[in-house]
């Protein structure tokens, strides 16, 4: 892919591909994991193909920013957390959220068992590993007095956390606790969402321009995506094996653990009633207001521009 | 006023034009200068050289060299002989005064031709080139037929007695052999003006004599002008048409001896009384100089 092409150019190029199927690219927010189960399910089961799409899922990584890649037109769809999609607004990147994979945020603080951390105030006096710039940390600092926290950079390692019994690290409840268990390090977690900061996670998005001019493709994609997740609920373990093929360094058991723990976030909560991918204006507005308050958003705007449920299948 | 300009070697047009302008300039000052300029291969005009260490290497050095002459420079160590030669080659500029080569500043001349060759006081060979390739260097730089160049290089190397060492590297040679490569390199370029800084100092008497004869041969054949630095008074007398004796600190020209022995010179001449006479005169001039300095 080259630089100068705007989204529309890429799209027309994409549309011209032979065989009647349209090629689109999806950038994942991380190396393939269970949180991308719906994508791989849709690919594996031929759901995208049935809808006339040929989808390339490009793995993310520590420093890969799907927001930027999609904004630059190098991919049509991306996965990111809701707050990232909102913050991109500051830069004039107009994205539209199409489906929320997880109805809530599995982001959590993980600490050693018996550390007696009940509330966020209890983080004071401890070393906390958080990724510099991660939004919920700003939110928490705004909500609580965390001046006693020694803030350390989170870098994807947990060794230093394990080494220091009183320390706390950011984590996903769907992932890290499993690895700790493997290492016989008993841990507990405290969800960030308990603070009231609960963005949708792993949100499918595209640029506003793209959505406006390629409604049909977007419709096909979102439908397939949701169908993919539906089918993943049935045969998660089988799809996980496919994912291991894409991300050979992760253990199947870890994926299965994730599949289990993320189940409620995907299929439960609001989705239980309203279907997979469901989003509400209220949740988006709350999040937007929270970000506004802590200064991560520079100006107010109507969230209705920011997300749409029009491509989601009608609630059953 | 009619001035006949008869350049003694073939100038290309651009150089001829340079010459013309400098001629026109000098015309304003008087026609004599024109004639002088045209005939001089090298002209030191009141040249002084002060290195930035404060060392006065040359002091009001004034010396014309006519085309086709063979000039030897004699003088104590450190008196500025190398400095003078380097200036002729454009590798140093006078602090005051002027050096001209064929009427031009040497830097200009160098830029336009390949007519000057220099045998440096140390051999100055490229360590990564074999003997043959070192000699080929000036020919390569000038261009021309590769095969002919190689032929030329080999024949000069044969002359200096190194034809068995074509593929040796400088570090595999003895001191005298390195110097001979350097001499071969200079001769291979067939220069009009040959500057040699103690080229034979590292050679034994017999090799030296052979090379002296060869050098004189080439000099005559090619109508070169040679500036030759040596510490050997016999050598100076044997080779030169004129000897410039210099004195030390600051380097001045102390006397000029015209050697009126006929060319071609033969080894036998060395026993000739006239020869000894010149040797004595040159030695005396050197020694006087030394004494004068001591009494000061």
């Amino acid at each position: 892919a080259c630089s100068g092409e705007s989204a529309t150019e890429t799209e027309s190029e994409a549309a011209d591909s032979p065989g009647g199927t349209e090629e689109v690219k999806l950038v994942l927010n991380w190396f393939p994991k269970s949180q991308h189960g719906g994508v791989y399910s849709a690919i594996e089961e031929g759901i995208f193909e049935e809808n006339g799409l040929s989808v390339e899922a490009e793995p993310g990584g520590p420093q890969v920013s799907p927001v930027q890649i999609v904004a630059a037109g190098d991919a049509q769809f991306g996965l990111a957390h809701a707050d990232q999609i909102l913050i991109a607004r500051n830069q004039g990147i107009e994205l539209v959220a199409l489906a929320a994979t997880m109805q809530g945020s599995p982001q959590a603080f993980m600490f050693h068992e018996g550390e007696e951390i009940q509330d966020f105030d209890d983080l004071n006096g401890r070393e906390v590993f958080v990724q510099p710039g991660i939004t919920y940390w700003d939110f928490l600092k705004n909500q609580y007095d965390l001046s006693g926290v020694t803030e350390l950079g989170y870098n994807g390692q947990h060794v230093n956390f394990i080494d220091n019994k009183t320390s706390v690290t950011q984590s996903f409840v769907t992932s890290e606790p499993y690895f700790m268990e493997l290492e016989d390090v008993p841990v507990e977690t405290m969800l960030v969402s308990e603070s009231g900061y609960d963005p949708y996670n792993v949100v499918l998005f595209a640029t506003k321009d793209y959505v406006e001019s390629n409604g049909e493709t977007v419709q096909k994609f979102v439908s397939s995506y949701v169908d993919g997740w539906a089918s993943y609920e049935e045969n998660g373990p089988a799809i996980n094996e496919v994912i291991v093929g894409e991300n050979p360094n992760i253990a199947l058991e870890a994926l299965n653990f994730e599949t289990e723990t993320q189940h409620d976030y995907i299929y439960g909560m609001d989705a239980a009633e309203n279907g997979i991918g469901y989003m509400t204006e209220e949740r988006w507005t709350t999040l937007k207001d929270q970000l506004l308050e802590i200064g991560l958003l520079e100006e107010d705007f109507a969230v209705t521009d920011m997300f749409t449920t029009e491509f989601l299948p009608d609630a059953n | 006023m009619h001035i006949e300009v008869q350049p003694s070697h073939t100038y290309d047009v651009s150089r001829y034009n340079i010459l013309k302008t400098s001629l026109l300039k000098t015309l304003l000052e008087g026609a004599n200068d024109v004639i002088i300029k045209k005939n001089h291969a090298v002209y030191f005009r009141n040249v002084s050289k002060i290195y930035n260490t404060g060392t006065v290497a040359l002091n009001h050095f004034d010396f014309p060299v006519e085309e086709g002459e063979f000039i030897s420079f004699l003088g104590p160590s450190g008196c500025g002989k190398s400095t003078a030669l380097r200036m002729v080659a454009g590798l140093g500029t006078p602090t005051s005064g002027e050096v001209t080569v064929y009427g031009e500043p040497p830097e200009e001349l160098i830029k336009n031709t390949n007519d000057i060759a220099f045998v440096f006081q140390d051999a100055n060979l490229l360590p990564w080139r074999s003997v043959l390739d070192n000699v080929l260097l000036p020919l390569e730089l000038r261009g021309g037929n590769k095969k002919e160049n190689k032929q030329a290089a080999i024949s000069v190397l044969e002359m200096v007695g190194l034809k068995d060492h074509l593929t040796s590297y400088p570090r595999q040679l003895s001191g005298g052999m390195k110097m001979r490569v350097s001499i071969a390199r200079a001769l291979a370029a067939r220069p009009k003006l040959l500057l040699m800084d103690e080229p034979f100092a590292a050679l034994d008497e017999i090799t030296r004599q052979t090379l002296q004869m060869e050098l004189l041969d080439i000099w005559k054949k090619e109508k070169m002008t040679v500036l030759f630095v040596t510490h050997n008074v016999y050598e100076a007398v044997f080779l030169s048409s004129k000897i410039a004796v210099m004195s030390a600190r600051p380097g001045r020209l102390s006397s000029v001896i015209d050697v009126n022995l006929p060319y071609p010179r033969e080894l036998g001449m060395r026993t000739h009384p006239a020869f000894s006479d010149y040797v004595d005169r040159a030695s005396a001039s050197l020694e006087n100089d030394e004494k004068r300095k001591e009494t000061v």
């Binding site: 904004a71 991109a88 710039g133 950079g153 | 140093g92 602090t95």
Partner: protein, 286 residues
């Protein structure tokens, strides 16, 4: 360089000694600074134009003006970050230089030592910092100390590699002189090999000084900031997460300016050290 330096000196000297062909300021200016200035202006205008021409939005390639705005508006953050990074990288570089040269000298003093230990220096260089970061953090604590250690780890190899090369490329005949005079191993080291290796050492330091900045930034990245304030590495991470590309560029440019200043300082030092003899640093007098 050799050429133009020679040229210059010739002129300078004519100026000093003969005092006739006075060289006007304008021409010095033209020779020395006009090129870089034109290049800089060209570079800036190209950069200003490219995003517009290619239609790249500012969050992908911000224009110089965007970067300038971001710099001005977040100047206080940037300033603090620069201060911290300077501190970290200067110490890291200092360690690279001292330990690098020290180890090289040690290794060069014995073929067996060199063969036995040098591979570990290469290992230290190639082993990815992320792999050893936890250990570094455990041994040195998160934050400053670890960052300095990582900056050192990244910067020291060029010093060792170059210095060793220099120490081992002593002129043969000078070496023989020392053999003849029955010089002890260390005399040979101090009086021959180290002076002879100077130019190589200095070339190594020049590489290392820019790497030590990269090291400090990477260090903050992998070793965390340890409770203190964050330097450029921290600022860059935050900017990247918040897609503040313009500010990210401000940080990047700040790092680059640091690098250049650092490089110039080390070059100056190198000129001073080599001044007395090495061709590349020497203004020759003809």
């Amino acid at each position: 360089m050799a050429m133009s330096e020679v040229e210059m000196t010739k002129k300078q000297q004519a100026l000093v000694a003969a005092g006739k062909k006075q060289k006007p300021f304008a021409s010095t200016f033209k020779e020395l600074y006009l090129g870089p200035i034109i290049a800089f202006i060209l570079f800036l205008s190209l950069w200003q134009m490219i995003p517009s021409v290619l239609g790249l939005p500012h969050y992908i390639l911000p224009k110089p003006t965007d970067v300038w705005e971001a710099t001005v508006s977040d100047w206080s953050l940037l300033q603090e970050a620069i201060r911290i990074t300077i501190f970290e990288s200067v110490i890291g570089f200092f360690l690279s230089a001292v330990i690098g040269i020290g180890v090289s000298v040690l290794l060069a003093s014995s073929k067996i030592l060199e063969r036995s230990i040098y591979p570990y220096a290469i290992i230290l260089q190639t082993i990815p910092v992320v792999a050893v970061a936890p250990i570094v953090v455990i041994w040195f604590g998160a934050g400053f100390n670890s960052i300095v250690v990582i900056s050192f780890l990244i910067g020291f190899f060029p010093v060792i590699s170059n210095t060793l090369m220099g120490l081992n490329s002593v002129d043969k005949s000078m070496d023989e002189l020392f053999t003849l005079y029955n010089a002890s191993k260390w005399q040979r080291m101090w009086k021959l090999r180290i002076p002879a290796a100077m130019p190589y050492m200095m070339a190594g330091l020049k590489i290392s000084c820019t790497l030590s900045i990269v090291g400090a930034i990477v260090g903050e990245y992998v070793a965390g900031i340890g409770g203190g304030n964050g330097g450029l590495g921290y600022a860059i991470t935050v900017a990247a997460i918040q897609v503040k590309t313009s500010f990210l560029f401000s940080c990047g440019i700040a790092a680059a300016i640091l690098g250049i200043s650092f490089y110039l300082l080390v070059s100056l030092f190198s000129k001073m050290m080599l001044g007395s003899w090495h061709e590349s640093a020497m203004k020759s007098d003809k």
